[in-house]
Amino acid sequence: MNIPDDLYYTENHEWGKVEDGDLRVGITDYAQEELGDIVFVDLLPEGTAVSRGDSVGTVESVKAVSEVYAPVDGEITEVNPALEDAPELVNQDPYGKAWMVVIRMTDPSAARSLMDSRAYEEYVKAEAK
């Protein structure tokens, strides 16, 4: 189970990487493992304003569909174009090539209220039981 320690995490298994005032968001290794082979990723367009907890899109496998939620308030400034033709990237490289959206945070310090890698590791252990 890969849980990079330079990222933040949410209870819905998103990860967030702070890049200046932006948060790059994707889903975790645990999430892609649970979903299985990803067949489709559907995300909201650039320019959409989102609040923390809003759905920014869905990730679909043959056996399940999962919503992806915005971890913070802000505006979507980038959407990963690679996922349209290669959804399998989410399985192969969930923290790198399969980033999903970049959100310009309304409050640049908002990410700090999310879980760090250790808290997320505990959380995943408890969920797996």
Binding site: G36, D37, V39, V62, K63, D85, A86, P87, E88
Partner: protein, 485 residues
């Protein structure tokens, strides 16, 4: 796009696609030609020939015959699919539906006889279920659920409460919450108790002034009878809420217990399950809705009524009705088959069906419980659920077991449902399986269990004797090719 090139060209296809059969000029069909077609047809928007294959009769027959050879039907062997009740489809029912073929629903004289038969079915279903009124128009179980939930919604609104919440146990069929959503309700999941049935206490904890109804399946998808159902009904009624029952598992209690006597207000039955009409590769089915008298005014239109001359007619008026749910009278020919089945076996036959269905399931359960994990030791009726927990560590999953069964010439049981059991295998043999078939199935399951322990790799490759090997469903979803080029 990734994957699309992989499947284009149809490599190694078992039977060529219809578009690759035939050639221009092959179709020599002579059709009825009672009228003189003018040289120039004076209508707007006439086009050139439709774009479909040009195939001779022989080639059509061979093509579809060979396709049928790639299939498995219930006349080949058992389909132990939980909650599907894949019982034998009596051939006599086909014969009884023959007379219906040329009848047009606008042919009032002929429809008089048909309405009489449909009325009889309504009455019989009401008696079997202990309910007061019935509508035969829903074309499938899910359609019946939707209709039933719309009836409840109309009743709730007529009562002025505006309630929109429906409680659904975690063992429910997937169509239950979907039907609620389409009917405009919000659903709340409630957990079944540790013995596998819903407890009145849990229901009480979730009841409030926003609950319109609770949807229950009885027996539930674990094959367990919801023994607290009467108490649950009482609590709901005291709260001003309704009890809806999904009748998919009615086969277990025919002639023994009736949902209406358990406090059920509204329910649907599945003609293609309990009442033996053929599954047809996915349809057509039938999902009649039955209600207690209080909800009868809300049933869909039209209604079958006495015409005053000893016959039957359709009444299209009904201001309290939810309206129409089908353009005509539902799947009439399926309703006719179901009536033929009921009359063919009669009251003793209905009870015998339930008894044999439950005995067959309990017999299989006793054969398999030692080999596979049985998560709930609670007594079960017509179906039971195993899991793949016994194979943890071998890498063998429920999917492997299912695929391996096909190499033993069985259709697999329902897999990965209900969701309360991880890796679930839901097994329902039905009453029309001879003991020898049950023994054959038990032997196959024993052999698979042995392979799981001794040679798990072999199971990952299954099936190997079927027309195609394990199908790549991920590639299908990624390429998304839904038509020939």
């Amino acid at each position: 796009m990734a994957g699309r090139d992989d499947v284009a060209g149809f490599p190694l296809i078992r039977e060529p696609l219809l578009k690759d059969v035939g050639a221009p000029g092959r179709n020599r069909r002579v059709l009825p030609a009672p009228f003189d077609v003018p040289q120039a047809v004076d209508l707007p928007g006439i086009a050139v020939l439709p774009d479909i294959p040009d195939v001779s009769e022989v080639e059509t027959v061979r093509h579809f015959t060979r396709l049928s050879d790639l299939n498995y039907g219930v006349d080949n062997g058992m389909y132990p699919l939980g909650s599907c009740t894949m019982k034998y489809n009596p051939k006599m029912a086909e014969a009884m539906a023959e007379a219906l073929k040329p009848v047009h629903p606008g042919d009032e004289a002929a429809m008089g006889s048909v309405l009489g038969l449909l009325f009889l079915l309504q009455q019989h279903l009401g008696e079997i279920c202990g309910m007061d009124a019935c509508s035969l128009w829903p074309a499938a179980g899910a359609h019946g659920e939707l209709t039933g939930m719309m009836v409840i919604r109309r009743a709730v609104d007529a009562g002025g409460s505006g309630r929109r919440k429906v409680l659904i146990p975690d063992t429910a069929h997937g169509t239950n919450p979907a039907s609620c959503a389409v009917a405009g309700f919000v659903t709340e999941n409630i957990p079944s108790g540790p013995s596998g049935f819903l407890t009145a206490q849990t229901v009480e904890e979730h009841l409030d002034g926003g609950v319109a109804a609770l949807m229950i399946t009885n027996p539930n998808t674990l094959g367990i009878f919801e023994e607290e159902i009467s108490e649950i009904a009482r609590l709901l009624h005291e709260n001003g809420s309704y009890l809806y029952m999904d009748g998919a598992n009615l086969n277990a209690i025919l002639g023994v217990a009736r949902p209406g006597d358990m406090g059920v207000d509204c329910m649907h039955v599945n003609l293609h399950k309990t009442f033996a009409t053929p599954h047809g590769g996915g349809g057509p089915g039938g999902g009649p809705v039955l209600v207690k008298e209080g909800l009868a005014p809300y049933l869909p239109l039209p209604r079958i009524v006495n015409d005053g001359h000893g016959g039957f007619a359709l009444d299209r008026e009904g201001p309290e009705s939810i309206g129409m749910v089908h353009s005509c009278l539902g799947n009439v020919a399926i309703s006719i088959r179901a009536l033929a089945y009921i009359l063919s076996i009669g009251p003793s036959g209905l009870r015998e069906t339930a008894k044999a269905a439950c005995l067959n399931a309990n017999y299989l359960r006793s054969r398999l419980a030692g080999l596979y994990d049985l998560p709930y030791p609670t007594p079960t009726l017509h179906e039971f659920v195993l899991s793949d927990r016994a194979f943890k560590g071998t890498g063998v999953s429920t999917m492997d077991v299912a695929k391996a069964l096909m190499d033993f010439s069985f259709h697999p049981p329902t897999v990965y449902f209900p969701l309360v059991v991880g890796g679930a295998l839901m097994i329902e043999p039905t009453e029309t399986e001879p003991i020898e078939e049950l023994d054959r199935f038990a032997l196959a399951m024993e052999e698979i269990a042995r392979r799981a322990r001794e040679n798990p790799e072999e199971l990952h490759g299954a099936p190997v004797t079927t027309p195609v090997g394990r199908v790549d469903e991920v590639l299908a979803a990624r390429s998304l090719i839904l038509t020939w080029p």
